[in-house]
Subunit: 336 residues, 4 copies
Amino acid sequence: MSKRIRVGVIGAGRIGKIHTENIVYGVKGAEVAAVSDLKIDAIRDWAQGLGIRKVTGDYKELLADPEIDAVIICSSTDTHSQITIEAAGAKKHIFCEKPIDYDIVRIHKALDAVRNAGVKFQVGFNRRFDHNFKKVHDLIREGKIGDPHIVKITSRDPAPPPPEYARVSGGMFLDMTIHDFDMARYLAASEVVEVYAQGAVLVDPQIGKAGDIDTAVITLKFANGALGVIDNSRKAVYGYDQRVEVFGSGGCVAVSNDTPSSAVLSREDGVHSEKPKYFFLERYMESFATEMKMFIDAVLNDSIPSVTGVDGLKPVLIGLAAKRSLAENRPVKVED
Amino acid sequence: MSKRIRVGVIGAGRIGKIHTENIVYGVKGAEVAAVSDLKIDAIRDWAQGLGIRKVTGDYKELLADPEIDAVIICSSTDTHSQITIEAAGAKKHIFCEKPIDYDIVRIHKALDAVRNAGVKFQVGFNRRFDHNFKKVHDLIREGKIGDPHIVKITSRDPAPPPPEYARVSGGMFLDMTIHDFDMARYLAASEVVEVYAQGAVLVDPQIGKAGDIDTAVITLKFANGALGVIDNSRKAVYGYDQRVEVFGSGGCVAVSNDTPSSAVLSREDGVHSEKPKYFFLERYMESFATEMKMFIDAVLNDSIPSVTGVDGLKPVLIGLAAKRSLAENRPVKVED
Amino acid sequence: MSKRIRVGVIGAGRIGKIHTENIVYGVKGAEVAAVSDLKIDAIRDWAQGLGIRKVTGDYKELLADPEIDAVIICSSTDTHSQITIEAAGAKKHIFCEKPIDYDIVRIHKALDAVRNAGVKFQVGFNRRFDHNFKKVHDLIREGKIGDPHIVKITSRDPAPPPPEYARVSGGMFLDMTIHDFDMARYLAASEVVEVYAQGAVLVDPQIGKAGDIDTAVITLKFANGALGVIDNSRKAVYGYDQRVEVFGSGGCVAVSNDTPSSAVLSREDGVHSEKPKYFFLERYMESFATEMKMFIDAVLNDSIPSVTGVDGLKPVLIGLAAKRSLAENRPVKVED
Amino acid sequence: MSKRIRVGVIGAGRIGKIHTENIVYGVKGAEVAAVSDLKIDAIRDWAQGLGIRKVTGDYKELLADPEIDAVIICSSTDTHSQITIEAAGAKKHIFCEKPIDYDIVRIHKALDAVRNAGVKFQVGFNRRFDHNFKKVHDLIREGKIGDPHIVKITSRDPAPPPPEYARVSGGMFLDMTIHDFDMARYLAASEVVEVYAQGAVLVDPQIGKAGDIDTAVITLKFANGALGVIDNSRKAVYGYDQRVEVFGSGGCVAVSNDTPSSAVLSREDGVHSEKPKYFFLERYMESFATEMKMFIDAVLNDSIPSVTGVDGLKPVLIGLAAKRSLAENRPVKVED
């Protein structure tokens, strides 16, 4: 393998483009050698402008290319596990967008393939690399709050996806809350063993008709005895609300939202400040760049990726338990 | 009845003394005519210093005194309902500390007695009169956040009571969380219909041995469809943590803790500010004075007290449901 | 002298009433024995409601009353020094509202009389007792910011006084900024040796026509080498703006405004919080009570008052230097 | 001129490298065609790693290269005006680091050369592009605070430069405060007409021996009647302190420091948060990228640069007035 990693990006939708540009502009040890997308015509100009040599409609060309060391899988969720298996077979290192799959059996097959091939595998839980959440994590690891007792996560989107999206997304818990389930594990440093989920349709009745919910409060029990709670809404009119608070025997640590500026305007009608950064592109842009650097570093240095296959599996298990809890209105144990 | 209300205080422990001094120093339409306490010797000097004429060991003397218009019941919890019944029989207006009782049948008997006597009855849920929580309440009532979707209450004490206290207090839910159950109703303007309670013993194993918990996350469903969550700890090392946040269709409102000063100290080792006010005496002193003014006003103006008998009953019902939920690890409906 | 101090209040305008009620309701070692005011009819009901025995139109009656231990001088500023001299002659302890006088010779005469009589004398610089400013002061004294280098004071009123007030008030520097000159000395723990004052009429041209200014930036040099700056406006549309910041070799400490509540409302149109408490009555009520307790304590314990005669003199000297600086547009040394 | 601007960077010290990398990684309409530096060996590897074709020890090669459209002048300050004149003669567009020169005559000569050549000229006052300061500026322009009355700028470095630096830097006012003079003009939208500067040596006596100061409070009068104050220190132990506040007839707007994260840690020993970002590289990285984009945009679109030659001249005039004010301890008019 060359000292400069050659990357192929599979699927150049919104998130695929972000990863591609982050590698081109910001990751020094890597270059994007090729990009594949089913809609090849839609990405040709964009790829050329970035100086990417190879653009194809068929990701298998990337897997077959011996010059490519690693792939970034950003295709539709239902293809993640299958492409992971193929890429592992082709001995490519793999960065896979979350979730690996909605089906536990398929996830296990993908992780088995990765293990057998001995390639690096990192899952796209980018929020672990966010400056705020990472700081909370680090302070907890340094023992600043003692033993964690209560983990609280607030995660609210500025606007709901189209109702029909509910049908293909696996539902709010697997599509949106899955990031919070990962965050809970990341911060508590303990596995979630039981879930109780309350859900409601308060934002848009169409979401309810599509079989999903748009508002939720989910409580968690961790293996180490700590408790947790996540609250979600598909529509916070003031923007993307992304906060955590962890309370422990020795103190409490909390982070607030990032804003475009710190300007505070005091007027006769009150004191006004800025809303949170609008949505995940604004809020998490830096974390997308960092997770990619971390992945390339893991490949370059042959070290363990920061978000492993197990880290990809566990939030899906929690999400499935939450779905059952909601359906049956009772606490549900998370499968091992 | 005279235009200046003559009040008798029954039970002059910590909270009884606070109410007494608030009336003496701050409530213009009222005076404390008499105080009773089982330990009469312990309060004589204090009462004299305040210019209170009559000090007795027997509250029945206060009830028998035709010059007394109203009583403040601050005796031990197990006597609240019985004294309420007797005071109502004596046609005294009643301010009763929370909780009215731990037993629903006894609460109903007390409320029946009040209703039959036609006297005023106010329960000591003082936090409704706190400047922060009242502002949240008012903003919600003004429609500033639209329909409430998620009510979040954080309530953490600075230090646990002695473990033996757990045996007489009715447990954390009826002793401590009961204020939060009242706050949930006050803010949501909707009744709690179902409760799911997680509890843990993370602060002090002695509390667990005494049959109680010291850490909890409790989720609520409201009649109007909104969801709620309360988190409690008996020991926040940084002091009394009392915050709420209500999220709705049109926005979100939150309050933070009060601190002794707003001083921010920036040094090489970080940026430092003050801890929350230490405990309820510091934090809620103003609200104790206000609730007493409101009670005297209700008597003077023959208006409905701001915290009614039903407001005293409901949090106990929620607390009992929470206890059962914890014991059976399942969501429990709140009795009507 | 009795163990309970008997106080006479001279002048029962707004501030006189505040001091009176604070003693009646909140200072345990003192009582208000008498009140005098030129407009005796306007205060009779108010005084009676507070249970004050003696109400008179002539302050000399208070000075002649052997039962009165101390007087609170709240009459018009032009009478402060004369009444101080007479009260000292009558061996009364004296709390005198600021400023003692606008004339240095008359201040010295008053302070001489106090010294000769050996009575306690405290000047009404209440802001020293404010929870925020006192905390800044204490942190500096504890060495938390090392040696002070830069003292910054922001002091802005919500609304200007009537323009004609400028003629009798001695001008903005002696009427309003005088509190900031005291604060500068209190925080820096060093004397102001030189002043440079910029002034402007930006709020109301009528104030300019009356010979005063309504906006100012004043820089200070302290004896210990530190620098200072005060900024003033007669009209902050968002309310009373009262902040300080002190920067030193080891750090920086700053306080922000107090608000009626900590409520933060996040909506589509931004994030909104409360304006500062409106004006000095709301903002400094607690400090008025505390300064009075401190005065009574100094009398009871025969200790040095917290704000001495020199503390009353110095800000006037600085104010006069500032007036000259503004008139001559040059830095001016403060007279010794 | 090509649609893609070919840029030559003159001087690849710290700031030259930042501009170079910002163009390479982040400015789509431009490329770095060449870099010159006196220490050519020190930059060869770095330049090659960025794919820059031409590296030279002689900036004149860049000026002579017909393929180069624009130059970024990041050489030592004493060469700025001379290279500007030569670059203008070679018809190159010019981005020049601040200050253009310390000598007014030489600045005028440089600006004349630019004017005669008709090339674009932008000065490196990057803080105008900072998210916080730009927001303050925009709110003022939108009339949100009415007419500005008081402009306050706090600007404190985390650590002083070596004392010998004072001799070559032109002194604190021309080296450090010059950014604040620009900020004052940018925010007030009015020219500074008079300056009064207080200075002190409180951080390091060696700085005083070198003829400079390390602490200052500078007051400003603006043409429109507004007042201003800047406070500076060479050593804020808690990091880079960069704040502004503008008060006006209709309100007040202020910004606070940026921090690495918003984490707040509450513990028994207090409530702790992060220090400001350490120094200008951390704090202003984004603004360096933005100013370069704006410069390239101005060249591409033939529009007026956002920071003009006059914007480069005025802060030097103010700085020279401040130096004289300090030396003579009197307010000094700014030369026209």
